[in-house]
C-alpha cells in the first residue's frame, strides 16, 4: 500500500487525497487541467508552480523550462508524481460558449438534445422541440484531451493497440453523463428524449463512432467513412428515457466535419446568391467559401495560440486573463477579466497586444521586437515573449493563407466577399480591428460578422430538419486540400509576416 499524500490546488482551493507516486497527470486531469502535447513533456501547457513541498526536475523539464521558471518553482505536471504538495495551476477553468440564437423551425413533439463535440470542449443543450426552447445547457472538457490537445495526437492515440476502444469509451461515457445532467437540470430526469444529434470534426466523428482512423494518420488523410451514423441510446450502453436514436451527422471531407456543415446550415450561406466566407478560428481552423451554387471548404492547422495555449503566460479567457489591450496616450492599457490582478493572457488579448504594439512601432513587420528585447510587459507580471509572437505568426499565417488560397480557388477576391462569418469562441471575442491589423483576416471591418457557436445552432436545427437534409448539403460542399494547391508554401510563409504599418480606416 502506497503512502497517502495530500495535494492542495491553488487558486481553486481544492484538496486531493492520493497515493504517493500517482502520476499528477491522472490526478489533475479530473480537475480540468489539459495536456496539450498529450503529456509527453513537449510543451508547457500543464505547468504547475510548487508553493509548498518539492517536485524533482527531469531532463525533459530542464529542456522546456527556463532557469528563471525552474527557480520560481514551475514544473511540468505531466512529468511529476504525487507527493505532499501545494500547487498553483497555470490553467484555469474552461470557457463555455453556448448558443442562444433564435431560429425558425417547424415544431415537433418531444425533447431533443443537440451536442457540439469539440476537440477541447463539448457543449450540449436540451430542447423542448414543441417550442424550440432551450431547457438546459451543459459543457465539459472533452475527456479525450488527456490523450493530446490536437486532433493528430488523438489519431495517434487511437491507432495504438486498444486505443480506438479507449477513446470511444471515454467520449461516449462523458456524453451519457451530460445528457443525464441536462435532464436533471431541466427538473425531470425521467423525461422522454426523442432525438439526439451530435456534430464534430472528422476525428471527433470517427472516434465517437468507433471508425478506424488509421487512414487519417498519413497523407492523403482520407477518412474511412464520414457518413451519418445512427445508434440507439441503448446500443451505446446509455440509459436515456425513451431510448432515442443518436445520430452523429455526416462530415464534408478531409478533417472538415459536421460541425462546419452545421455551421453552413445555421448561417444559411448555402441558400444565398452572394458569396460568403465562414471561418472557424480554432486549433484546427476551418474555412468555407461559397454561395447557393457552389461551396468549397478546407481545414488548416493553426495550433493552439488563439486559445492561449503554448503561449508563455497564456491562459483561457477566464478570471485574471488580459482579454483586451488598447492604446491610450501612446501606451498599452490592459483589460483584465473579473476585476482582479492580471495573471495571464488569452487569445483575444494576445491578438490585441500584438496589433497595438505594431501600431506603436514596438514590433516590426517581421515579428521582432523593435528594441531587440525578448519580451514586452503589458501589465506586470503579464508579458508577451518573442516566442509568443512567433506562435501567433504561425497561427495567423495558417488561417490567412487558408483564406487567401481558398478564395483564389473559388475565384473571388477578398474585397468582393459579401460577408465573413466568424464562428467559434475566439471569433466572438477577438477584436476585428486587431485581427485585421495582424493580417489574420484580409477583409474590411464592415465585411466581418461574428456569428457565435454556429455548430451548436446547426445541430439544434438538425433536430427539426427532414431526414437527409444534412447529408444532401454535405454533398454540395467540395473539400480542398490546401497544401496541394500551387503556391501553398510561399503564401503561408508570406502570411506569417505582419502587414505594413500604413494607416487604416477604423
Amino acid at each position: 500500500m502506497s503512502e497517502p499524500v495530500h495535494i492542495r490546488l491553488r487558486p481553486m482551493g481544492v484538496d486531493i487525497e492520493s497515493a504517493k507516486g500517482t502520476p499528477l497527470q491522472d490526478l489533475l486531469f479530473s480537475y480540468g487541467v489539459e495536456f496539450p502535447c498529450g503529456g509527453h513533456g513537449k510543451c508547457k501547457g500543464c505547468r504547475v508552480r510548487v508553493l509548498e513541498g518539492s517536485l524533482p526536475l527531469s531532463p525533459a523539464q530542464e529542456h522546456m523550462l527556463s532557469q528563471a521558471e525552474r527557480d520560481a518553482g514551475w514544473r511540468l505536471s505531466c512529468q511529476c508524481t504525487a507527493d505532499n504538495l501545494t500547487l498553483e495551476l497555470a490553467q484555469w477553468e474552461a470557457q463555455i460558449l453556448a448558443d442562444t440564437s433564435r431560429f425558425s423551425f417547424t415544431p415537433r413533439t418531444g425533447f431533443g438534445v443537440a451536442i457540439d463535440v469539440g476537440t477541447t470542449t463539448i457543449v450540449a443543450q436540451l430542447l423542448d422541440m414543441s417550442r424550440g426552447e432551450v431547457l438546459a445547457v451543459r459543457s465539459a472538457l472533452n475527456p479525450q484531451a488527456r490523450f493530446g490537445a490536437d486532433i493528430m495526437s488523438r489519431v495517434s492515440a487511437a491507432v495504438e493497440p486498444g486505443g480506438r476502444e479507449r477513446l470511444a469509451d471515454v467520449i461516449r461515457e462523458q456524453i451519457a453523463t451530460m445528457i443525464a445532467e441536462l435532464l436533471q437540470a431541466a427538473g425531470d430526469p425521467t423525461r422522454t428524449v426523442t432525438d439526439v444529434v451530435l456534430v464534430g470534426n472528422t476525428v471527433m466523428h470517427n472516434l465517437f463512432c468507433g471508425v478506424d482512423v488509421t487512414p487519417l494518420s498519413y497523407y492523403p488523410f482520407e477518412p474511412v467513412s464520414l457518413a451519418t451514423v445512427e445508434f440507439t441510446a441503448s446500443g451505446l450502453g446509455w440509459e436515456v428515457p425513451g431510448d432515442p436514436p443518436v445520430r452523429f451527422l455526416a462530415g464534408i471531407g478531409g478533417f472538415v466535419g459536421s460541425d462546419v456543415l452545421a455551421g453552413v446550415f445555421a448561417t444559411g450561406m448555402h441558400e444565398r446568391a452572394e458569396t460568403r466566407v465562414l471561418v472557424d478560428l480554432g486549433t484546427n481552423g476551418e474555412i468555407v467559401v461559397g454561395n447557393r451554387d457552389r461551396m468549397i471548404c478546407a481545414s488548416t492547422a493553426a495550433g493552439p495560440a488563439f486559445e492561449g495555449a503554448r503561449i508563455y503566460m497564456g491562459m483561457r479567457a477566464a478570471t485574471g486573463a488580459v482579454s483586451a489591450v488598447r492604446i491610450e496616450q501612446n501606451t498599452l492599457v490592459c483589460h483584465v477579466l473579473g476585476n482582479v490582478p492580471p495573471r495571464g493572457i488569452c487569445g483575444s488579448g494576445l491578438v490585441d497586444a500584438v496589433a497595438n504594439a505594431l501600431r506603436l512601432g514596438l514590433i516590426r513587420a517581421g515579428g521582432r521586437f523593435e528594441d531587440g528585447g525578448s519580451s514586452l510587459t503589458l501589465a506586470a507580471p503579464v508579458k508577451i515573449s518573442q516566442t509568443d509572437i512567433r506562435e501567433l505568426q504561425l497561427a495567423k499565417g495558417a488561417i490567412a493563407a487558408g483564406i487567401r488560397l481558398l478564395t483564389r480557388e473559388f475565384g473571388v477576391e477578398p474585397p468582393a466577399v459579401h460577408e465573413v462569418l466568424l464562428a467559434g469562441a475566439f471569433g466572438n471575442y477577438v477584436d476585428t480591428g486587431s485581427a485585421r491589423r495582424i493580417g489574420l483576416l484580409p477583409f474590411a471591418a464592415e465585411q466581418i460578422q461574428p456569428s457565435g457557436n454556429t455548430a451548436l445552432l446547426g445541430a439544434k436545427m438538425a433536430l427539426f430538419a427532414p431526414a437527409g437534409t444534412f447529408d444532401a448539403l454535405a454533398k454540395r460542399i467540395a473539400h480542398v486540400s490546401l497544401s496541394e494547391l500551387e503556391g501553398f508554401q510561399d503564401i503561408y510563409v508570406d502570411e506569417m509576416i505582419f502587414p505594413g504599418g500604413e494607416p487604416e480606416t477604423p
Binding site: H40, M152, V159, Y218, Y219, T387, S483, Q489, Y492, M496
Partner: protein, 211 residues
C-alpha cells in the same frame, strides 16, 4: 573586398536580386567560386542561423535568405562541378512516407546547401525504396528525413529498417527531424542524430560527416 561584403549582406537580408548580381560581377571579374562560397556565403548562412536561434529571425527571414543564397549558388554550382570540387558531403533529404509537410525540410535543405553540402532533395511522401535508390545512385553519405506528425514519424523507423535490410545502413549516417521527434525517439529507432531546427541540422550534418 568591399564589393563582396555586399554578397554577405544580400544573403543576410534575403535580397536574391543583389546576391545574384554581385555573384555574376565577381565571377566575371575572376573571383574564385570556391572562395565566394567559403568566405561569404557560408558565413552569411551561419549568421542567418545564429539570428534564427536567437529568435531575431523567423521562418520567413530564413526562407528569403535561403532563396538569395540559392540564386548565387546556381551560378557557382556548375563551375565547382566542372573543376571537380568535392562538396562538404552528399545528403539525400525528404519527408518520409505519409508525410507531406515540407517547410521544415526545405529549410534544412537550403541551410545544408548554404553550408556547402550537395543536397539531393526527394521531396515529400518519400518511400524507403526511393531513399535507397537515391543513396546508391548518388553515392551519398548522409540521409536526412523528417516527419511533422506523430502519426507519420514511425515511417522514419521503417525507413531505417529498410536501410538495414538493403545492407547500406553501415555506409551512411542518418539524421532526423520534425516537430514530434525527440532525442529519445532518435535513439530508439537507431538514427545517428536529430535536430529541432534547420541551424542545428547543419551543425549535426558537419559533425556526422566528420565522424
Amino acid at each position: 573586398m568591399e564589393d563582396l561584403q555586399k554578397l554577405y549582406d544580400a544573403i543576410l537580408t534575403g535580397n536574391a536580386k543583389v546576391s545574384k548580381e554581385v555573384t555574376q560581377q565577381a565571377l566575371a571579374a575572376g573571383s574564385d567560386p570556391q572562395a565566394l562560397v567559403q568566405k561569404y556565403m557560408i558565413p552569411a548562412m551561419d549568421e542567418v542561423g545564429r539570428r534564427y536561434e536567437a529568435n531575431e529571425y523567423f521562418v520567413p527571414e530564413l526562407l528569403i535568405s535561403a532563396r538569395a543564397m540559392k540564386a548565387s549558388l546556381e551560378l557557382i554550382r556548375p563551375l565547382l562541378a566542372a573543376r571537380g570540387a568535392e562538396p562538404a558531403g552528399r545528403v539525400v533529404i525528404g519527408t518520409v512516407k505519409g508525410d507531406l509537410h515540407d517547410i521544415g525540410k526545405n529549410l534544412v535543405a537550403a541551410m545544408l546547401e548554404g553550408a556547402g553540402f550537395e543536397v539531393i532533395d526527394l521531396g515529400v511522401d518519400v518511400p524507403p525504396e526511393k531513399f535507397i535508390a537515391a543513396l546508391n545512385e548518388k553515392k551519398a553519405n548522409l540521409v536526412a528525413m523528417s516527419a511533422l506528425l506523430t502519426t507519420t514519424m514511425n515511417s522514419m523507423k521503417t525507413t531505417i529498417e529498410a536501410f538495414k535490410a538493403a545492407g547500406i545502413r553501415g555506409n551512411i549516417k542518418v539524421m532526423i527531424g520534425g516537430a514530434p521527434v525527440t532525442e529519445k525517439y532518435a535513439e530508439e529507432i537507431g538514427a545517428d542524430g536529430y535536430s529541432t531546427n534547420a541551424n542545428g541540422a547543419v551543425a549535426l550534418a558537419r559533425k556526422l560527416v566528420a565522424a
